[in-house]
Subunit: 152 residues, 2 copies
C-alpha cells in the first residue's frame, strides 16, 4: 500500500549486505519492516533504508555492538517523538527535559569517541607515510620505481 515499497533482496542489494543480516536485525529488535504481505514477505521503504545506514555507521565506524546501537536508536526515536509532540503538547516539561539531557549525553560521548578515533587515524596515517618514504628510498637503491603503474 505504501508507495515504492521494496522486498528484502532489493534493499539488501542496495545496501550491500545480505537478507540474513536484515532478518537478524529484526530478530534482535533493531529494524521492523514497514509491512508484511499476506504470505509473510517483508516490505521496506526509505525510512528502513536510512535506519540500516545508521546502524552500519554506528557499528563499523564507531565500533558499537548491537546492544549499544539499539540503545542509541531508541534514544533517537524518543527524541524524534519529543520533537513531534513538542508542537502539540501532551508530555510533561520534566519528561522532555529528561529525554533531552539523555540525548545530549549520548551525543557528547559519541563526539569524544569520534574525535579520539580521528586522532588515532591521523597518527597512523603519518606512520604509513613515513614507511612509504622509506620504501621509496630502498626502491631507488634497487633501481625500481614503486609508483610506475605502467610497469608490470
Amino acid at each position: 500500500m505504501t508507495e515504492s515499497s521494496l522486498r528484502i533482496g532489493q534493499i539488501a542489494e542496495r545496501l550491500g549486505l545480505s537478507p540474513r543480516t536484515l532478518r537478524y536485525y529484526e530478530e534482535v529488535d533493531l529494524l521492523t519492516p514497514s509491512s508484511y504481505s499476506a504470505g509473510g514477505t517483508r516490505r521496506y521503504d526509505e525510512a528502513q533504508v536510512q535506519r540500516v545506514l545508521r546502524i552500519r555507521e554506528l557499528q563499523a565506524v564507531m565500533g558499537f555492538n548491537l546492544d549499544e546501537i539499539r540503545e542509541i536508536l531508541h534514544a533517537d526515536d524518543r527524541l524524534a517523538d519529543l520533537r513531534a509532540e513538542y508542537t502539540e503538547g501532551g508530555v510533561s516539561v520534566e519528561r522532555r527535559q529528561e529525554i533531552l539531557r539523555e540525548a545530549s549525553r549520548i551525543n557528547s560521548r559519541m563526539q569524544e569517541q569520534v574525535l579520539a578515533k580521528i586522532g588515532i587515524l591521523q597518527v597512523f596515517q603519518h606512520e604509513l607515510e613515513e614507511k612509504a618514504a622509506q620504501y621509496d628510498e630502498v626502491a631507488v637503491e634497487l633501481g625500481i620505481d614503486l609508483h610506475d603503474n605502467a610497469e608490470r
Copy 2:
C-alpha cells in the same frame, strides 16, 4: 634467560586484554611467546608487546580480521628480513624488488582505507555537532542548560 621476561597475566594486564586472547593469537599463529618454562608457562618480552599493539591497531582501527592481519604482519616480517639482509647481501635483487613491491602495495591500500575512514568520521562529527546545536536550541525553550555540569 632473556632479561625482563613477563608471564601471560602480566602482559595481558599491561595491554588491557585477557590471557585467553593472547593464547588465541598463538593458536591462530599470530603471536609466539619468546620462550616457555619447563612446566609450560609462557614468557613474553618487549617484542611481543609491540606485536600485540600492532595487531590491536590493525583490528580495531582498520577493521581487518585476523587472517588479513596475519598476512600484513608476515609482509612486515619479510620486509624486516629484507632490511636486515640488505647490508650483508645473500638475497637476489629480484627477490628484494618483489618483496618491496608487495610491502608498498599493502602500504598504499592501507593509506587509502585510513583516509577514507577519516573522511567518514569527519562527516559524522559535523552531523553530531549540528545535532548538539539543535539540542541546545530546544534546551533554551525548555529553560535548562545542557552544559551545566554542576546541575544534578
